[in-house]
Symmetry: C2
Subunit: 169 residues, 2 copies
Amino acid sequence: MTISMYAASIPVFKQMLGGLNDILGKAHSYCAEKKVEPQILLSARLFPDMFPLSRQVQIACDFARGVSARLAGIDVPMNDDKEETFEELQALIAKTLTFLDGFAPAQFDGSEDRQIITRAGTPKEKRFSGQNYLLTYGLPQFFFHVTTTYGILRHNGLEVGKRDYMGNY
Amino acid sequence: MTISMYAASIPVFKQMLGGLNDILGKAHSYCAEKKVEPQILLSARLFPDMFPLSRQVQIACDFARGVSARLAGIDVPMNDDKEETFEELQALIAKTLTFLDGFAPAQFDGSEDRQIITRAGTPKEKRFSGQNYLLTYGLPQFFFHVTTTYGILRHNGLEVGKRDYMGNY
C-alpha cells in the first residue's frame, strides 16, 4: 500500500531532466537552422520580471539536486550557475543526472520522517517532514521550472510537444 | 520507509488546485480593475497551437479527477468542458476539490500495483502500474497544466508570484 521516497523522487527527476535535455538540444538545433543567436532564446522570458530560460534550467537542476541530497541527508552540492550556452546547460543536466544516479534507494529509507529545514536561520525558515518537503514543496517547484522552460521555448516557436516534455516514461 | 499513494496524490492535487483557484480569482479582479475583457485572458495562449487558459484549467482538473479515480478503481467522472468564464472555471475547481475530498485514504491501498490502462483499445494504449501511472505520468501532466495556466497569466501581466502557484503547503 505504499511507495518509496526514492521512487517518488529520483526516477521522476531523471525522467523530466532527460526530456528537458532533449528539448534544449532541439532549441540549439533550431537556432542553427533558423540562424537565431542562441543568446536570444537563452535570455528569453515570459515576462520581464520572470527568470530567463537559462536560469529556469539552473533552478530545475537545483531542485533535483537539493531535494535529493536533503532527503538522503548529505550535503547539497552547489553549482556556480554560470552556464551561458546550450552546451553548458546540457552539461549541467548531465552532471545533475550523474549525481542522481549516485543515490542508492536505501539512502532514502526513513527520509519521509526526516526533518528538513529550508532557509534555516532566516525569517523565511520553514520546517517540513521529508514526505511533505518532497510532495508539497520539492516536486511542485521542480515541475514549475521544467514546465516554464518548455513554455518559454514554445512561446518562441520551437516545435516541440507534450511528448518532449514528458521524457521517457 | 514509505509513503502512501493517497498522500502522493490527493493532497498534492488539492494544494495546487487551491493555488490555481486563487490565481484565477486574481485574474478576474485584474480584468475588472484594468477594464480588460475577461475573454481576452481566458482565450490567451503562449503560442497559437497551444491550448488557451480556460482549456489548461479544464485539463488540470481532468488529470486531478482522472488520476484519482483510476487509482481508486472507480469510474472517471466526465466534465463537458463548457466553462467559459472565470466563475465557471472556479466552479469547476470547486467541484473537483469536492470530488477529491470524497476519497478515503484506504481507497488507495494497493493502488501502486493496480494495472492502469490509458487510451485503451487505441494505438496509443499504454499500461502502467498505479505507482508509475501517478509518478511518471499523472503528476507530470497535472503540473504541466497548472504551471502553464500560471505562465499564461504572468505573460499577460497578472501580478502573481511563485507563492500563489504553490498554494498552501
